[in-house]
């Protein structure tokens, strides 16, 4: 594979070649290519707030399902947005199939604890919800990272039990994901013996296995999201055992013009030409031309950020582009569009 291909890829072109994420089999060393995104077992999707994490998580789930995988998409912040992107009613802790091959669940740490106690420790407090809830609140506040570990623990457990081929996590915003991913290690540092210790050990095995677990950072081509993504890439590397598998740039605007087109566009915008154009069109074309100027400016500012992002990412990090969706509303149709855009980018 050509590593330099990633670095010099022109982000200005709308129809980029598919990302080369294939080749270089697993286990060939730290610089080897990431395993194919959809062949992972556990995929965290994160990014700055508002960049479209949920859209990306839904799109990737849809794509994997279309390729015959059984996918569990898990919403950690429980806003019900994932299910709305499949036009299905919200789900709770117990997964439900919301589209062919796609199951959805909402993380609930208390339910996770109940399940954990029942399945792992066989502790007979199950059933008495009241005292358990109280005790949980207490433990969760007292012992740091309990909520985080119950979230990550449930996800890892689903991976270990192989109920699904792929678990996609609509994870917390980049500011908070680190705490969550670092929780098992943190608990491991604190707790030297006991059952918890043996629990975090196998979680860490899953999280730090790059053939199983990956993280996708989503951003938009804007200044702050790009800065935060670069910061996130560093923090994921330094503070967690999880590997960053790809960066998704969402809401990439179409390129309206090439250089020649832009010259002609400027000629058409000259006041007397614009007047003639308006006469011929039968109404003032000013707003139409003005909108195009805005679109060109937006695209240009954004390209600069995309270049800064690519320059700042580690060598060989796959970058996937998702086009801006000029849609009236977001639902199953746009989710399929996103899935197919990913399919193109991944060369599937």
């Amino acid at each position: 594979m050509s590593k330099s291909g990633h670095r010099h890829r022109t982000v200005a072109s709308g129809s980029a070649p598919p990302e080369d994420v294939h080749g270089g089999g697993a286990g060939t060393g730290a610089v080897s290519a990431a395993p194919d995104l959809l062949d992972l077992r556990l995929l965290f999707v994160t990014g700055k707030g508002g960049v479209g994490k949920t859209t990306v998580a839904a799109g990737l789930s849809q794509l994997a399902a279309e390729h015959g995988k059984r996918v569990l998409v898990c919403e950690v912040d429980a806003k019900g947005d994932v299910t709305s992107l499949f036009e299905a009613p919200p789900t709770e802790f117990t997964p439900r199939e919301i589209a062919p091959g796609v199951w959805s669940m909402s993380m609930d740490t208390e339910a996770s604890l109940r399940e954990y106690l029942k399945l792992q420790l066989r502790i007979p407090v199950v059933g008495r919800i009241g005292p358990l809830a109280k005790a949980f609140d207490f433990v969760a506040t007292a012992a740091p990272g309990v909520r985080e570990i119950l979230t990550v623990g449930k996800l890892c457990w689903e991976v270990r039990e192989s109920h699904y081929d792929l678990v996609v996590v609509d994870a917390p915003a980049s500011g908070h994901i680190i705490g969550q991913l670092a929780a098992p290690q943190a608990i491991n540092d604190l707790v030297k013996v006991g059952l918890i210790r043996s629990q975090t050990d196998w979680m860490l095995d899953i999280l730090s296995d790059e053939r199983q677990t990956g993280l996708v950072a989503v951003c938009t081509p804007e200044e702050m999201p790009v800065s935060e993504t670069l910061e996130l890439a560093t923090r994921v590397r330094e503070e967690t055992t999880v590997r960053m598998s790809a960066v998704v740039i969402n809401r990439v605007l179409p390129e309206l013009f090439g250089q020649r087109e832009e010259e002609i566009f400027e000629q058409l915008r000259a006041p007397d030409v614009e007047r003639v154009l308006s006469e011929r069109a039968g109404g003032t074309v000013t707003p139409v031309l003005e909108a195009a100027r805005l679109a060109v400016t937006m695209r240009r500012t954004r390209s600069a950020h995309m270049q800064r992002l690519q320059a700042g990412l580690p060598e060989g990090m796959p970058v996937l582009l998702l086009p801006y969706l000029f849609a009236r509303s977001f639902g199953a149709r746009t989710t399929r569009q996103v899935a197919h855009a990913f399919g193109d980018e991944l060369g599937l």
């Binding site: 740091p144 154009l277 937006m298």
Partner: protein, 386 residues
């Protein structure tokens, strides 16, 4: 609340003049940090006084927007030349600080610990180091604590606070109360009894047997030590938490919900406005950022653009030195107008559905360029100001 209603601000300028604390909240990615910084900077230019912008977001963005290399837990002054470089003249002082959770916790322990020994023991406790350094919930608490601390010092005429995205912002509203509840909980006392009295055999209680099985003895001992030490600061903590809660509902404090008109952010902003009102907190302003220009929704222009698509060659004839390219350009231009029109109309619908009753509702147009320096901040501030 007749008096308050009569005195309701009509502009953000009036709102800021009447308040000591403005807490900017709302979903992520809507320009909350930038808006907070812009308002603080504009207040310094327009109204003077000492103004602090405090970001509690774990992601470090404020420095970027203020053109600073970095900011930390201690407040730093933005020097006058940063304003003067862009032709603005500050009448007062602009300060900025970013919450450093670990540092703030350590300061808090130093303030509340009854003696030197307790202080050292707490700071060295592995559990404390984790709570203070790594975990999100403690961040929420310490953010409000720090706001209280700074406000009590009375150094600033206005404090503009930038918060983490919505759901977490709600957490931080609850954090002081949760902390107070926690330290007064019976469970906590129950847990630390065997260590305190040594009368009860540790291993004789089923709870400890289970806890020991799950957590291991050393960890349990760490927990107990931590809470016994914290117990000594109990009164101080609870009192503080209550004072912080009072500060949030003080009439000199107001909340500003920032959003864009995209579907998800609007839904979250609405949720947040409703929560504020349910808690009887003051919703001073709603700021809608990055709103697309109105002309994109113009019905005539929309019709015109549709009609242009089929006859680009005819329209473009003889108007430029390349009629073929010109026709293609006109097609692209019309198509693009229609595309953006879809988005602009979607936004307008979102705005119409936006409920809630802030004193002030402001829409800020989409800016062509990024805001990356003081000039951009003041430009944004001017849009929001009156």
């Amino acid at each position: 609340m007749t008096a308050a209603a009569a005195g309701a601000a009509k502009t953000v300028a009036q709102l800021l003049a009447a308040k000591d604390i403005v807490i900017a909240c709302g979903p992520g990615g809507v320009g909350k940090t930038t808006t907070a910084a812009a308002l603080a900077a504009t207040a310094v230019v327009e109204q003077g006084g000492r103004v602090l912008v405090l970001t509690v977001d774990p992601a470090r963005r404020l420095a970027d927007a203020l053109g600073l290399k970095g900011i930390g837990n201690d407040e730093v002054r933005i020097t006058d030349d940063v304003f003067e470089k862009v032709g603005a003249h500050p009448r007062g002082e602009l300060w900025a600080a970013m919450l450093d959770t670990k540092q703030s916790w350590d300061d808090l322990i130093r303030t509340h610990a009854p003696d030197d020994e307790t202080r050292q023991q707490i700071l060295a406790n592995p559990l404390y180091q984790n709570i203070s350094g790594r975990f999100v919930q403690s961040h929420d608490y310490i953010a409000m604590e720090r706001l209280y601390e700074i406000h009590s010092e009375g150094k600033y005429d206005l404090i503009v606070v930038d918060t983490p995205p919505t759901r977490n912002a709600l957490d931080f509203l609850d954090a002081p109360q949760r902390m107070a509840d926690f330290f007064s909980s019976r469970l906590l006392r129950w847990l630390i009894v065997p260590y305190r009295s040594r009368l009860v055999n540790f291993a004789s209680k089923p709870f400890y047997q289970i806890a020991d099985r799950i957590l291991g003895t050393q960890f349990l001992a760490d927990i107990s030590e931590f809470f016994i030490l914290f117990q000594s600061m109990y009164a101080g903590f609870v009192e503080r938490a209550e004072a912080v809660t009072r500060l949030l509902s003080d009439r000199r404090t107001t909340f500003m919900v920032v959003s864009t008109l995209e579907a998800t952010p609007v839904r979250e902003a609405e949720f947040f406005s409703a929560e504020l009102m349910a808690r009887k907190l003051h919703l001073g302003a709603v700021v809608l950022n990055k709103v697309l220009p109105e002309y994109l929704r113009d019905a005539h222009a929309d019709k015109l653009a549709q009609s242009m698509i089929g006859r680009t060659t005819e329209l473009a004839a003889g108007l430029s030195d390349d009629p073929v390219v010109a026709a293609r350009v006109l097609g692209e231009v019309a198509e693009s107008f229609l595309n953006f029109g879809v988005v602009a109309r979607r936004e307008a619908e979102q705005q119409a559905e936006l409920k809630g009753a802030p004193d002030v509702l402001v829409t800020v147009p989409f800016f062509d360029a990024d805001i990356y320096d003081m000039g951009g901040l003041l430009q944004l501030g001017a849009q929001v100001w009156d």
